[in-house]
């Protein structure tokens, strides 16, 4: 018993950063201390009608200030995320974390290349954009960042500070018109390792692209969750290898993931 607990954490600040997109800083020593990019937290409402967690990725981790940042989308009216959006600084929020494995930061181990020779491509799509920010901050190598949005962009200035940023928008309002794959092809981008988070069709395309080009590729997956810690077996994805838990082909997104080698999972 390590004493991990669901904690009632204080909200440092919250603001809307785009239509239906909110950014919240939460004070939590425990999580800020140990978390790595790509991990997530379970966020809970105080409404007894909504008992399950909302898994939300860490967008930034501030060890100094014992803070974590989450950026999330309000998915509709009457949702849990809508309730989160109403919270103000000083309010508390119940959270559990850090959860999951996170992105591997050691590019050499993954590509065989020196840090200075290695080029990493970070791809985010929609609400998969936020976790790429802390990854970009911690990744100690050349970075190409490709972020795809429907229309409104967010976190753009933060990314620009971290390296070369390419934008794709579905409506063509900025960057390449189309999706992240269009931006990659349109700009002739290439890399030695890929990190990606976004909707399933995007991950599917990236997985194919990476495998065709034999690029090591890590993707962060999504599934509905109940426990968030690997017990309930709600959040499985189909894995190539027999999984360590149930000895079938079902890896748990919450515990064995959310980050998987693209070759490891089906999508």
């Amino acid at each position: 018993m390590s004493g991990r607990r669901k904690e009632s954490a204080v909200i440092i600040s919250q603001e809307g950063i785009a239509l239906d997109i909110y950014s919240m800083w939460i004070h939590t020593e425990k999580i800020a201390e140990s978390a790595v990019p790509g991990q997530f937290i379970s966020m809970y409402t105080k409404d007894g009608s909504k008992l399950l967690p909302r898994p939300i990725s860490l967008c930034e981790i501030d060890r100094q200030k014992s803070g974590i940042r989450v950026v999330y989308r309000v998915t509709g009216t009457g949702t849990g995320t809508e309730q989160f959006a109403k919270l103000l600084s000083g309010d508390t929020i119940d959270i559990l974390g850090p959860l999951g494995n996170g992105f591997p930061l050691d590019v050499t181990e993954n590509t065989g290349k020196n840090t200075k020779d290695c080029r990493a491509m970070l791809i985010g799509g929609g609400i998969g954009v936020p976790p790429m920010l802390e990854l970009a901050k911690q990744l100690n190598t050349e970075k190409i960042m490709v972020m795809g949005y429907r229309d409104q962009q967010f976190l753009r200035t933060e990314f620009q500070k971290q390296g070369s940023l390419y934008i794709a928008t579905e409506d063509g309002s900025a960057g390449t018109k189309g999706n992240v794959m269009d931006a990659i092809e349109g700009n002739g981008l290439s890399a030695d390792i890929i990190y990606a988070c976004g909707p399933a069709p995007m991950l599917h395309a990236i997985k194919r692209y990476a495998e065709e080009k034999s690029i090591v590729c890590y993707i962060s997956m999504e599934e509905k969750m109940a426990c968030g810690i690997g017990t309930c077996l709600a959040c499985v994805c189909q894995s190539k290898e027999i999984d360590g838990h149930s000895h079938v082909h079902n890896k748990r997104v919450c515990k064995d993931g959310p980050v998987f080698l693209s070759t490891e999972v089906e999508i």
């Binding site: 018993m1 994805c237 079938v248 079902n250």
Partner: protein, 300 residues
């Protein structure tokens, strides 16, 4: 103050257990709660061979509860015996293994395999609504409840708990059938079959279409069934269905449960089991209850 209860000859240090399928084999939650504090750990269902479970989405949130259609994914009895039993043996708590199968033979194979393992009790799941064969089919008809109970009892070395389905017209008929078949105890309730439809995608929320409803939403139904069963048979009853606080646990005990299990609540409050143990102790102190067993079925 004495919190021990006797469950078909097995003495539990307190009546608080975990509901099968919501606590794995305890490993993940051992980070949050001291397993030594629990009356028993009830494991996820174990089959004779590994089961892959159902496609995703496997769960959906509902008002005050959730639907699940995990489909009894499990590594099978060999991995379970090699890995999970030794893990649990590190703790001073009872081990109750939940057993699932697609046929009477499947159940019996697992029960036999466990016969010489350091397992305290067996819980036979004849009430899972999420698998095509076996599961609930065995649990909705008194004759088949009695038959499967009798068959399992023939092969079991440990006391046998039959886990009943709430998806029946008359729970007392099933309880009596299990008693007639030789069951040593009853667990109730398993989940209630439910469905959710996503009105925007115009699709079922679960890949399996239906799932089992659990959580606080179903508690009044569970309390009623525990009360009815407790007043129909002499077997000790493990009550569950929506228990999330110590008040809920006491409610089931007053209704007639000898022990209680927490399922869904673990997911949103990982330390709920130990909080309930502590709450029960405070309750006993406040109302001067010497033995928790004195209040089992007290409300009549």
């Amino acid at each position: 103050m004495n919190t021990t209860v006797n469950l078909a000859g097995i003495e539990l240090k307190n009546p608080v257990m975990t509901a099968s399928g919501t606590f794995g084999s305890g490993e993940e939650y051992s980070e949050f709660v001291d397993l030594n504090r629990l009356g028993a750990v009830v494991t996820k269902g174990v089959a004779n061979v590994p089961w892959p479970g159902n496609p995703t989405p496997r769960i959906a949130e509902t008002h005050g509860g959730m639907l699940n259609a995990i489909g009894l994914q499990n590594p099978g009895m060999e991995v379970f015996c090699a890995r999970d039993i030794p893990f649990l043996k590190q703790f001073d708590t009872k081990i109750i293994v939940n057993v699932c199968g697609k046929s009477a033979e499947d159940y019996c194979e697992v029960v036999e395999r466990l016969a010489d393992e350091p397992v305290d009790m067996l819980e036979i799941n004849i009430s899972c609504p999420n698998v095509k064969e076996g599961g609930i089919a065995f649990g909705q008809n008194p004759a088949s409840v009695e038959a499967i109970t009798r068959e399992v009892k023939k092969h079991a070395k440990q006391p046998v708990i039959m886990k009943l389905s709430p998806n029946v017209t008359d729970i007392t008929a099933m309880a009596k059938a299990a008693e007639a078949g030789g069951a040593d105890a009853l667990s109730l309730i398993n989940t209630i079959t439910g469905m959710k439809i996503d009105v925007h995608r115009q699709k079922f929320a679960l890949a399996n279409r239906t799932g089992g409803l659990s959580g606080p939403a179903i508690k009044p139904i569970a309390v009623r069934m525990v009360y009815q069963a407790a007043n129909a048979v002499r077997l000790p009853i493990i009550g569950m269905g929506g228990i999330a606080t110590w008040e809920d646990a006491i409610e089931f005990i007053l209704a007639g449960a000898t022990a209680v299990s927490t399922g869904t609540a673990n997911f949103y409050n990982p330390s709920v089991t130990v909080e309930i143990v502590e709450g029960i102790e405070k309750y006993m102190e406040k109302y001067h209850i010497e033995n928790i067993s004195d209040i089992i079925g007290m409300v009549k």
